[in-house]
């Protein structure tokens, strides 16, 4: 239980220190036993006004954020990560509703961590997009002062 609380705290902290996550109005929540990132619908997120679909780049941003939050929650020590690559597959058209995303840790390496991210809207069984994100670890001493 303590670990779950600490994981949620780490995800909250990541959102708090990430201006773009705050711009998205992203929130971290503990849905059962998994960390979920929720992004409420906002007109600013629309990419195609004709079909009221969320912009593909915004979907990628939500996946990236879910992956980063999952990684922060998994290993909430001080080291930080930078994304080095991301592959996104778009599976379904999106709608102008809340989007949720979660991450699954696929690899924790000495230098590279790999997280799979899944985004959905109404039905978690029907994801709208999935992504594989690779992060490079940045040691504290490498951080800018």
């Amino acid at each position: 239980m303590d670990n779950e609380i600490e994981a949620l705290r780490a995800a909250h902290e990541l959102i708090t220190i990430t201006p773009f996550a705050k711009w998205l109005d992203a929130q971290a929540s503990d849905d059962g036993d998994e960390l979920v990132i929720r992004v409420p619908f906002n007109e600013l997120l629309i990419g195609n006004s004709r079909i009221r679909a969320i912009h593909g780049g915004i979907m990628a941003s939500i996946l990236e954020l879910a992956a980063a939050a999952t990684l922060a929650a998994y290993d909430f020590e001080a080291s930080r990560r930078k994304p080095i690559s991301m592959q996104i597959n778009y599976l379904k058209s999106t709608k102008d509703v809340e989007t949720k995303a979660k991450g699954i840790v696929r690899k924790i390496g000495r230098r590279i961590d790999t997280i799979e991210a899944i985004a959905w809207q109404a039905n978690p069984e029907k994801p709208v997009a999935i992504g594989i994100c690779d992060f490079r670890r940045t040691r504290l001493k490498d951080r800018p002062q």
């Binding site: 773009f20 629309i46 004709r50 912009h55 593909g56 780049g57 930080r80 690559s85 991301m86 996104i88």
Partner: protein, 162 residues
């Protein structure tokens, strides 16, 4: 036979699309520099709300992805030169380096070909002042999908305009 819009007409309408097409594009305030058969170039100045995790203060990766994805769609539109429904199949981003908020970023995107109703694109984001690469991207689009054309609103206004 439909009269195809000229490059000047397309760039004017793309600029109009980005300045008034949606709240997101108005927020991003990209400047389209050129549109040619070789691709699209655009300039973007990240705002503080586009930053990734502090204290690094470099742009969040997704904001760069958002711009490149937008330009990819337009590059395919320019290649097609007609209202055609398209949908992003996949997108690959490689983040080469991170930069502080020190100036404008330049983006280039082009459609490398359309084969069997799949359009392929590639793009690059660099620092304008140094030319240093920030990110590279590749994407595939399905052409002729169901639904309204992404570029219809823009292109259907061109005949008779001005």
């Amino acid at each position: 036979m439909t009269n195809l819009p000229s490059e000047e007409e397309i760039i004017r309408h793309i600029q109009g699309y980005f300045s008034g097409g949606s709240e997101l594009f108005r927020h991003l305030d990209m400047e389209i520099i050129s549109v040619t058969d070789k691709g699209i170039e655009a300039r973007f100045k990240p705002a503080p709300e586009h930053a990734g995790a502090l204290p690094d203060a470099s742009p969040f990766g997704g904001i760069i992805t958002t711009i490149l994805d937008s330009l990819f769609g337009l590059a395919v539109m320019v290649e097609l030169r007609a209202p055609t429904p398209i949908a992003t199949v996949n997108l690959r981003m490689d983040f080469v380096d991170t930069v502080p908020f020190s100036g404008d970023l330049l983006f280039s995107a082009r459609c490398t070909g359309i084969d069997d109703r799949i359009a392929r694109t590639e793009g690059l984001c660099t620092v304008q002042s140094t030319g240093a690469p920030i990110a590279r991207a590749f994407a595939a689009f399905a052409v002729g999908t169901k639904g309204p054309a992404f570029n219809a609103a823009m292109l259907e206004e061109i005949p008779g305009d001005g």
